[in-house]
């Protein structure tokens, strides 16, 4: 049975949906970050698969950049989390409502 591009895309979508579930139900910010990592990785799979099936390297390059962005996101995000935790003693999403209009 031949594995085609659509297989990868469906897998990617599935993982993306899982990531979305995580983003929406997690209250702990650290675990919410996990979910965002899942989102990024699911997209990476799609990029790599498209790159492979079209014989185009652009997709892989995008994966490369996405990984770089993910790494910086983690660095900055964790830094911010630490600041928040120092100030408030928790990292609960529901406590962050300073943007209430």
């Amino acid at each position: 049975m031949e594995i085609g591009l659509n297989h990868y895309l469906v897998l990617s979508t599935l993982l993306f949906a899982i990531g979305l579930i995580g983003v929406m139900r997690r209250k702990n910010l650290l675990l919410l970050f996990f979910a965002t990592e899942i989102l990024l990785n699911s997209v990476n799979i799609a990029f790599a698969a498209i790159s492979h099936y079209y014989g185009d390297l652009t997709g892989q390059l995008f994966v490369f950049f996405v990984i770089a962005i993910a790494a910086s996101e983690v660095a900055v995000g964790l830094g911010l989390l630490i600041v928040w935790h120092k100030r408030h003693g928790n990292i609960d999403l529901d406590n962050m409502s300073t943007m209430r209009g």
Partner: protein, 191 residues
């Protein structure tokens, strides 16, 4: 055949791992599952012939990112059960599944697969890393440099945010002030 088996196997494993990472109440379980999922994803890269990316995936995610998260977990003391929200589960799942279905519909539409020609085609006879390097340092040099700067900025930001007393500069203070600051620090440790 092996390709198919490998795909399905790793697809199953990744899905399960990520599902655990999302649904578990134990932070440690989540972290472990995520790390495992990352490694399984690298398997897809290898299957797809993107060896360099596979390696990067393992190094960056399973190495650097996971280490950071592990540090974060220890810092925040999330080893205890994570309190989850008791919101409407149907909304969460419904929205996610709906979006997944829509994306699948879009991807499986014929127009997507119609006539796409490669912009930077694979070079025959060269290794994946070499190909990638050639494109990266020619066509994508500027984005690459920008990404590098961004990583630097992120690093500095992380240090600034997480570091203590970063508002004080040792180079700008005179000796008396430095001594004073040290004494104050010691006081805090003692108390």
């Amino acid at each position: 055949m092996f390709e198919a088996i490998a795909f399905y196997l790793f697809a199953f494993l990744t899905t399960v791992m990520f599902f655990i990472a999302v649904m578990t109440t134990q932070a440690l379980h989540a972290l472990t599952a995520l790390a495992a999922g990352m490694i399984f994803i690298s398997a897809f890269f290898f299957i797809l012939g993107a060896d360099f990316l596979g390696a990067i995936q393992i190094v960056v995610y399973s190495g650097a990112v996971m280490a950071l998260y592990a540090f974060g977990m220890m810092f925040f003391d999330t080893t205890r059960d994570v309190k989850e929200k008791n919101g409407n589960k149907y909304i969460v799942f419904g929205l996610s599944i709906l979006s997944a279905v829509l994306v699948v519909v879009i991807f499986s539409a014929p127009m997507v697969t119609d006539n796409i020609s490669a912009l930077y085609p694979m070079v025959e006879g060269a290794g994946n890393t070499q190909e990638l390097g050639m494109v990266l340092f020619t066509k994508y040099l500027v984005p690459f440099e920008v990404a590098a700067v961004m990583l630097l900025v992120a690093m500095i930001a992380g240090i600034v945010l997480a570091g203590k007393k970063m508002d004080l500069s040792l180079t700008l203070m005179n000796d008396a002030e430095i001594i004073e600051a040290k004494i104050e620090k010691n006081k805090k440790v003692l108390s």
